[in-house]
């Protein structure tokens, strides 16, 4: 039961991208932020948005995190079943899990879904993940890169969004 760090801090990718096997992109659906999302971006996000993304890469919903030979799995964490997801982890071939901590943290391998670093500063914010509540799986194999999978998909127009909480009220 432990966490093993496997890389230094990076801001190039987040846990969602790392769960899909990418290390060059920040993925998040909410329209208010400037993160990449291959579908029209919603105002608030839910598990359904992430299920849509995972389906693009061959994942389907499954009921359990238990290791299944021939499949790779993603676990999605949230505080409550209806709240926005907070974290994602990917199952490795040996049954352990790998995840990237946040948009600016380290990544590592953990034996169980609830194993996270116990040292500062990660111990505090890892408590905010809630629990692993949703699971997805796909057969192990070769899958297209992010750019190949999302090529030609319609995007938001990209007009500046005026959000009424800045200094320009």
């Amino acid at each position: 039961m432990a966490w093993h760090k496997t890389s230094e801090k990076s801001s190039d990718y987040n846990c969602i991208a790392w769960a899909l096997g990418f290390d060059h992109i920040l993925l998040w659906p909410e329209a208010a932020f400037d993160m990449e999302w291959p579908f029209p971006r919603p105002e608030t996000c839910s598990v359904a948005d992430f299920a849509q993304l995972f389906a693009l890469f061959g994942y389907e919903r499954c009921n359990t995190e238990m290791y299944e030979a021939g499949f790779e799995k993603i676990a999605l964490y949230s505080v409550t079943p209806n709240s926005a997801p907070e974290h994602a982890a990917r199952q490795l071939q040996d049954g352990r899990w790998t995840s990237k901590l946040g948009g600016g943290g380290i990544d590592g391998i953990h034996d169980a879904l609830a194993d996270f670093p116990t040292e500062e500063p990660y111990n505090k914010s890892c408590r905010l993940y809630g629990g692993a509540r949703f699971f997805f799986r796909r057969p192990r194999g070769q899958y297209p890169s992010y750019e190949q999978a999302t090529m030609g998909m319609p995007r938001d127009a990209g007009a500046p969004r005026i959000i009424s909480v800045g200094f320009r009220r």
Binding site: G158, I163, V165
Partner: protein
């Protein structure tokens, strides 16, 4: 006789709040200038937003970075207690934020659209950290927040 119950919040780290409060201690930079102004002018000092931003942005930025470093949800940044005082500084905080953009990019790339009220990131650069930083720095130079 009422029994005194010691309240203890084991999961709350008060070190950042203490760092903030230390600015006002008798040896802190704000308290010193407060006393000086009070003695000579007999009125409360009127700190300019630029003066406050110079001291507060680094303090709040460290709290934001440490508390949200493991969060992929960018909403965690703008929901954090240290985001509100930075937002309240308004435009005065921008030069110090853009100086720190390379140090904690996820924090500021998440917060800037809300602080500014618009986004500088082009649709094709979304999610690409280096390109997003360049877009925001270009915006900052065009608006004279960065030289």
């Amino acid at each position: 006789m009422s029994s005194a119950v010691a309240t203890r919040r084991p999961h709350v780290d008060l070190s950042k709040e203490r760092a903030y409060a230390d600015l006002f201690l008798p040896n802190g930079p704000l308290a010193r200038s407060y006393v000086r102004n009070y003695v000579y002018h007999y009125e409360l000092p009127n700190y300019t937003p630029d003066f406050l931003a110079r001291y507060f942005v680094p303090v709040f930025a460290q709290a934001l970075r440490d508390d949200t470093i493991a969060s992929s949800n960018p909403r965690a940044v703008i929901n954090h207690w240290a985001y509100a005082p930075i937002a309240s500084l308004g435009e005065a905080a921008f030069p110090f934020i853009f100086e720190r953009l390379d140090q904690e990019p996820f924090v500021w790339l998440s917060a800037l659209p809300f602080l500014v009220g618009e986004t500088a990131v082009t649709p094709e650069h979304r999610g690409r950290t280096a390109a997003m930083i360049n877009d925001w720095k270009l915006w900052a130079r065009n608006h004279h927040y960065l030289v």
